[in-house]
């Protein structure tokens, strides 16, 4: 990964490719690359869909190596949904292939003068930008089918569906999985709309003739990777729970805790949650000849994903994740897994974020566009998005816009991005991260639960309010660092509980680059990323008043605990005070 490609889509005479060295971005990858580049190069007041915005695509620091779990791809830009800086990442094969091709980043710049659309083909010989208007307004599954006829099955694809071309604010960028299905999405923040605004429909990544990236110290790297994999395999979450049930194993637990937002955040429990649970889902998948244990990219040893078939054994979609099952399920009062799977397929195909879309449908239900629990109504609303009708364009632009258009007061967003599947009134500490993250409400922003090992900022007493603020800060720092490595965040449990597994991760990073890595280095990287993101947001006009949850969380107690969100504003303001 010793080069950066810049593709100016607005160049006179057509798209222009420039490949250069790493310069100031040497050693970066993933979220560190995308956020530092966007912060340095994008005007903070740029229109997110305009020529001044850039879409930075970057594999993680360890992507393209033999290391396990290293296949996350980061995409960064100024978000059209939130107006903040945005990093959105996904699994699939793209990161590994792009890294092996030697690119630390591919940057889409400028804006095309016409409404032609292009595909980008990258192989060992270079980069071609090819106009292909035959792909116009195709959705992800058919577009990949069409491209496979031309480029075959030994490549990785990235694409946008019709939502991205229409520049809808919930539009995602799809990455293909090992079976070449467009199931892994950089979903959050409308990054697909930015790709659409650049006129890029698809990117084909072909690493034929390229080798794995070699570590500086191969023996140490191999040894560290072996210990890392051992650690993941022996931990009950990464070695058993996630492979058996996927992330949807959380449905029962969140519902039991009263933190499962139901019917657009009106209750913390859903009476039919067990119909949607990971346990029920895995049993159904297996009984239909699907698969409850599947990796989204080669080299994943956790394999939290799966294959969801219909009752006749035909493929419907990949195993919907917890957040998807919640957003299309309990949030909308829907308890039928087949309906959720169909909506998940539609999300992936049209190319929209499953969280944003599901939350939006719940808000639309509150507006009376369908009843809660109306499966057919939810599908009908998604069809509007697919067709690009005026109503569909409103819905596809997310929960905040839909709430405004239809006069709904209870709109669960922070910085206009929809909240994920955990009610902050039940789990107050999560609300701190939702409110203050640089990304808009985001459950993964404070996910990397390794802070007790990292001891960021020293030991804290988590039983004090300051402790919760400190924890949220530390979680966000650790997450920013892990998002930069290319590692899937689901490693977090094993590295939290098993110091030797965390050490193995540090040794992988160190031996790859031929340096000694310590926990302090990880903390420094995370802080650097967050500081740059925060600074960009400040320059874009965001203040502490944007670091708040919607008022209904403070005013409406939620069953069964009848609690409101009680964190004080001054406490929230302390999160980024380092």
């Amino acid at each position: 990964m010793d080069k950066i490609a810049r593709i100016d889509m607005g160049a006179a005479g057509g798209p222009k490719v420039t490949v250069g060295g790493l310069g100031d971005y040497a050693g970066l990858g993933g979220r560190a690359m995308t956020s530092l580049m966007v912060a340095a190069e994008v005007h903070p007041l740029a229109h997110p869909l305009g020529a001044e915005n850039k879409l930075v695509i970057s594999p993680g620091m360890l992507s393209g190596t033999t290391g396990s779990m290293t296949g996350r791809l980061s995409v960064g830009c100024k978000s059209p949904l939130t107006g903040t800086i945005k990093e959105s990442n996904a699994g699939g094969q793209a990161a590994q292939v792009l890294a092996r091709l030697g690119y630390a980043a591919v940057v889409l710049e400028g804006k095309p003068a016409t409404d032609d659309i292009y595909k980008i083909y990258i192989n060992k010989d270079g980069i071609q930008v090819i106009m292909d208007n035959s792909l116009k307004l195709m959705n992800n599954y058919p577009v990949i089918e069409k491209l496979r006829k031309e480029y075959g099955d030994k490549v990785a694809y990235m694409s946008i569906g019709s939502a991205g071309e229409r520049k809808l604010l919930s539009a995602s960028i799809a990455c293909t999985d090992p079976e070449l299905r467009p199931t892994r999405h950089c979903g959050r923040g409308g990054v697909g709309a930015v790709m659409g605004a650049k006129g890029i429909k698809a990117i084909i990544l072909d690493d034929a003739g390229m080798k794995m990236r070699p570590p500086k110290d191969p023996e140490k790297y191999r040894d560290a990777n072996r210990k890392f994999v051992e650690g993941l395999r022996k931990h009950p979450v990464t070695g058993e729970g996630l492979p058996a049930y996927g992330t949807n194993v959380l449905t029962n637990v969140l519902n039991e805790a009263g933190g499962y937002p139901t019917n657009n955040f009106k209750s913390g429990q859903f009476a039919k949650a067990s119909d949607l649970s990971g346990e029920t889902q895995a049993a159904l998948e297996i009984s239909r000849g699907g698969n409850a244990t599947h990796g989204c990219h080669r080299g994943c040893v956790i394999q939290c994903s799966g294959i969801y078939n219909d009752k006749d054994g035909n493929y419907v979609t990949k195993q919907p994740e917890y957040e998807t099952v919640w957003s299309h399920g309990g949030h909308c009062g829907i308890s039928n897994l087949d309906t959720v799977a169909k909506l998940d397929y539609m999300d992936d195909n049209i190319g929209v974020d499953t969280i944003e879309m599901g939350v939006t449908i719940g808000v639309a239900m509150d507006a009376g566009l369908a009843e809660f629990g109306d499966d057919a109504g939810a599908i009908r609303l998604m069809e509007e998005v697919e067709k690009g009708t005026p109503l569909g364009r409103v819905l596809g632009s997310g929960a905040a816009i839909t709430g405004k258009v239809f006069g709904v007061e209870r709109v669960p967003v922070v910085k206009d991005q929809a909240l994920p599947a955990y009610d902050p009134r039940a789990v107050q500490g999560i609300g701190v991260t939702y409110a203050t993250t640089t990304q808009g409400a985001d459950h993964t922003a404070g996910y990397a639960i390794a802070t007790n090992i990292l001891k960021v900022g020293g030991d804290v007493d988590p039983l004090k309010t300051e402790g919760q603020i400190e924890l949220s800060r530390n979680l966000q720092i650790a997450t920013a660092a892990i998002d930069s490595t290319g590692m899937c965040l689901f490693i977090a449990f094993a590295i939290m509980d098993q110091p030797e597994t965390f050490q193995a991760l540090l040794d992988m990073l160190g031996s790859f680059h031929g340096i000694e890595m310590t926990g302090d280095d990880v903390v420094a990287l995370g802080k650097k990323v967050l500081s740059a993101e925060r600074d960009f947001n400040t320059r874009a006009g965001f203040t502490k008043h944007h670091d708040r949850l919607p008022r209904f969380f403070y005013n409406e107690p939620i069953a069964p605990h009848n609690q409101t969100f009680m964190m004080k504003d001054e406490e929230l303001d302390e999160v980024f005070n380092w």
Binding site: V237, G241, E256, Q269
Partner: protein, 195 residues
């Protein structure tokens, strides 16, 4: 009167209202027919007044290192619990058992975990209240990895099923040819699994 049913049943057996006990011997692969009920919650007879640890280890006969290492997430009446010893079993208590969960929220719910503070507003607070050690029931839920691991133990010990719960279960075990047309009230059901 106890009805003992071995799988596969050859004749149709009808449970009459007075036959309140049902003991099943099933093939191991039929265990998963009980999972929907177990994750929604079942009524389990138990002696009241003891600690939760005693309920799990002494009454349910779960090995204590399993309780310590494997049952890492517990809810009492929807409240995540940290201390097994200060929770006293009372009639009607809802007890939910789960293995370790992923993600920050999973870590937050973990018993005595580093992140327990993030949910301190809803945590279960134990009591030293003394209650008589008489028979009662708890509403027990099993989640995820604990379904296949603890399910056989709980089912062998026996549980009380309402009519609709039994009807649903029998639908999942069609090979037994059992039905419950006139069933009323609760049935004490136990099940063992083996070849």
């Amino acid at each position: 009167m106890e009805t003992l049913v071995k799988q596969p049943a050859t004749d149709q057996t009808t449970i009459r209202p007075l036959e309140k006990r049902l003991a099943l011997q099933l093939a191991p692969d039929r265990l998963n027919a009980f999972f929907p009920l177990l994750q929604r919650g079942v009524t389990v007879p138990a002696i009241m007044g003891c600690s939760l640890r005693s309920l799990l280890c002494d009454q349910f006969a779960i090995p204590s290192d399993y309780v310590t290492d494997r049952i890492t997430t517990i809810f009492i009446n929807n409240r995540p619990l940290d201390d097994l010893d200060t929770t006293i079993i009372e009639d009607g208590l809802r007890v939910t058992l789960s293995a370790a969960m992923p993600g920050l929220v999973g870590a937050t719910m973990r018993r005595g975990g580093f992140y327990a503070a993030l949910r301190q507003g809803i945590s279960h607070v134990g009591s030293n209240r003394q209650t008589a050690d008489e028979m009662g029931v708890v509403r027990l839920k099993l989640f995820n990895l604990l379904l296949p691991e603890l399910g056989p133990l709980i089912l062998a010990r026996g549980l009380l099923l309402e009519q609709d719960e039994l009807d649903e279960l029998l639908m999942r075990l069609p090979e037994l040819s059992l039905h419950n047309p006139n069933g009323t009230g609760r049935t004490h059901l136990s099940a063992t699994f083996g070849e």
